[in-house]
């Protein structure tokens, strides 16, 4: 439906909710590329004023992408929890922001409404929020998941240890893994982006990480980030798969470009659970997302990239993941141009994910053709640490030599722990102390060449 708003002595007209959402979005290159951004700064604020008056209920009837042709829309509408929604059903988007910031929105209350909030509602309210609002509300959201340890407890932040190697060399992967463990990383997952896509090659990598975890009895999980169908095949062949990975997006067409649909994700979840490898829980999925993926697949339908990103979280939520990772600056400057846009997007994604009840972490990252550098990453890291981010990425020296981008380093997580007093997953923290890697305060202890972890690579080199 057409919406009008008078602001600054001018009447603004927005053809539909989709256009209103796009124009209300803080400026970013991807929406400009798609030709859907506001035409002026004033129009953008007028759109926000207009959006603030839209009732939350409108998002249940005015869908942005047709129900009939998009299974993500069907998932969102069909799984909407009316009871959870009932206490906020009378609110407008602007009222919703006021509620979220109020003392009435306790952590318990936010958990209770999560299933009543749709991705579009979360995206809409985020567009009215400043960075500090996104931080403060996300901080109140509690999401705890489990496989071999407990992720998401208050005052904790986990790290995915990402030991990538350009040719999957086992010794090289083991070397980065040991380096990361000795820096106290790896409680979220030891997760490798493989160079190969062959099943035998991938299966060897699954075994490699499993052996590291078994040998040192590390209370964590492994994941080889390959296509979901390949992981299912490996499970069927008896490989020791802990978590199943998949990139997901916010429209059926974009997911099709990834070669997936909801059904195959369900099969993957069943397959991984059938192995019963979790010791304290059965959250077996690891998803990655990122603003701009639908546009790059020509599957955005005129919807802004931040709203589409939130829709991907509806897909994730259905499969009770252990971890969801928004890879915020990876896709390039045509979607998020500079440090300012990357920082804003990281905070939005984290807020929307948490509000929807997801264990969301962030790959705080950039490419060399974006207008960004390590200082921008430090800023976003500090903000997300403050916002209670579930996990971040740990890459040796922040330099991923396989994927050619910069993320956060083993050192960076030590920085944010020290600055903000963040602990690791408790089971992993206890293991680090047993291994004499950290002291009781969680700080690194000096190591010697006799560290038992170093025996891993010595054995391989022999």
């Amino acid at each position: 439906m057409i919406r009008r708003h008078v602001a600054g002595g001018r009447s603004w007209v927005f053809a539909d909710l989709k256009e209103l959402m796009a124009k209300a979005t803080p400026l970013r290159s991807g929406d400009l590329l798609a030709g859907i951004a506001a035409g002026s700064a004033e129009e953008s604020v007028a759109a926000r004023m207009c959006l603030a008056e839209v009732p939350l209920k409108a998002f249940l009837t005015e869908v942005l992408i047709p129900y009939e042709t998009d299974e993500v829309t069907r998932l969102i509408i069909d799984s909407h929890d009316e009871r959870a929604f009932s206490s906020i059903a009378h609110l407008t988007v602007g009222d919703f922001r006021d509620f979220l910031l109020s003392d009435a929105a306790t952590p318990e209350r936010l958990v209770a409404i999560a299933r009543g909030v749709t991705p579009e509602m979360a995206a809409a309210v985020s567009k009215l929020m400043r960075n500090q609002d996104l931080i403060l509300v996300a901080r109140k959201c509690r999401v705890v998941t489990r496989f071999r340890n407990t992720i998401g407890l208050a005052g904790t932040m986990a790290v995915r240890l990402q030991p990538n190697h350009p040719t999957d060399d086992p010794l090289g992967i083991a070397a980065s893994t040991v380096d990361g463990l000795l820096y106290g990383c790896g409680d979220a997952v030891i997760g490798l982006n493989p160079a190969t896509d062959s099943v035998p090659g991938l299966t060897r990598l699954v075994h490699l990480l499993d052996e590291v975890i078994q040998r040192f009895e590390i209370p964590t999980q492994s994941c080889i980030l390959t296509h979901v169908t390949t992981s299912i095949e490996m499970v069927e062949r008896g490989a020791p798969v802990d978590l199943v990975f998949q990139s997901i997006a916010g429209t059926e067409k974009a997911n099709a470009s990834f070669g997936i649909d909801l059904a195959v994700l369900g099969e993957a979840q069943d397959a991984a659970r059938s192995l019963g490898r979790g010791t304290v829980g059965d959250n077996v999925m690891y998803f990655e997302t990122g603003q701009g993926s639908a546009l790059s697949a020509d599957a955005h339908f005129g919807v802004d990239q931040q709203t589409l990103e939130a829709r991907a979280y509806a897909v994730a939520r259905k499969f009770e993941p252990l971890l969801v990772n928004t890879v915020v600056g990876f896709i390039g400057p045509e979607y998020l141009y500079d440090g300012k846009q990357i920082i804003r997007a990281g905070l939005e994604d984290h807020f929307c994910g948490k509000l929807l009840g997801l264990p969301i972490g962030c790959d705080i990252c950039y490419t060399n053709h974006a207008e960004a550098d390590q200082d921008d990453m430090d800023t976003l890291l500090t903000l997300l640490g403050t916002a209670g981010v579930t996990f971040i990425i740990g890459v040796p020296g922040a330099d991923d030599v396989m994927l050619n981008y910069q993320s956060t380093s083993f050192h960076d997580q030590l920085y944010v722990r020290e600055a903000l007093g963040l602990k690791r997953a408790p089971e992993f923290e206890a293991w680090l102390q047993r291994m004499e890697i950290t002291d009781v305060a969680g700080r690194l202890k000096p190591q010697t060449a006799r560290s038992s972890l170093l025996s891993l690579t010595r054995g391989m080199a022999a």
């Binding site: 290159s29 400009l32 590329l33 030991p163 990538n164 190697h165 350009p166 060399d169 010794l171 090289g172 992967i173 083991a174 070397a175 980065s176 040991v178 380096d179 000795l182 896509d197 062959s198 790059s296 390039g332 400057p333 045509e334 141009y337 490419t367 060399n368 053709h369 550098d373 390590q374 890459v395 040796p396 020296g397 922040a398 330099d399 030599v401 050619n404 981008y405 910069q406 380093s409 050192h411 030590l414 920085y415 722990r417 020290e418 700080r443 690194l444 000096p446 190591q447 010697t448 060449a449 560290s451 170093l454 690579t457 080199a461």
Partner: protein, 296 residues
Amino acid sequence: MSAGPVRPAEDDGRPVTSPAGEDRPACVLSGDARPVSGMQADPWHDLAAATPARIALGRSGGSLPTRQVLDFGLAHARARDAVHTPLDVAAVTKAIETLGLETLLIDSAAPDRPTYLRRPDQGRRLSAAGRAALTARAGAEIEPAPDIVFVVADGLSAAAIHANAAAMLAAFLPEARRRGWRVGPVVIARQARVALGDEVGEILGARLVVMLIGERPGLSSPDSLGLYLTFAPKRGRSDAERNCISNVRSGGLGFAEAAATLSFLAQGALRLGLTGVKLKDAGGDALPAPDASPVL
């Protein structure tokens, strides 16, 4: 600190563990007159030989040692410069013409670097002047249509072209001559994305277009060249219809090896009349995957 290559294996900037370093306190209390030291080395320095990843960097408290911060800064600066340095057209033209090849200079529809980075769609289209120049050249063509047209494109790293393009062509030309392939004029393209080669090849009537393009620069590989093959190039081809040879550079895939793979792919493309996923399927695992690299 020298300003040489960022991470050569023989001088990787990593601290050497001193026998005393492990047990020495990280710092001394004020009032103590002994010289202070904050850097702690990691006693697994030997592992660094197993991977190009930045491991065993040591730490100052929990933070990166000064040397590592500066080395990282240098690597990032080099990658940034690779993205933003304009293509040295005069030098590239001269190097290619020295090989006995004709060159043609064109621009994409993206007028400058900031636009190029924001608008990949413009980098995939020719400028009006570029289209006119190619059309004029195609009109003057009297010999049969070329089998292969090379496009040498800045992409995201002009440094990759400066370092590798002429040498790559030089490595491949003897093979092209041996097989009797007609090589058309080499088109030098500025502010170009991979798909620009489709329109170039279409206008010049090429059977196969081979794009030599600067890849997205990594911190440790700012000058990596990518080769993209597209049979029967025309506007609207998808990335699934291409084959890619990636990471051609010193320290990556060598010119001789890349030339051999290029010849293998070109033979298959010209024989089967296609490139992309189906060419890979036909060639099995011997062939590289179609466009597995990040979107250019």
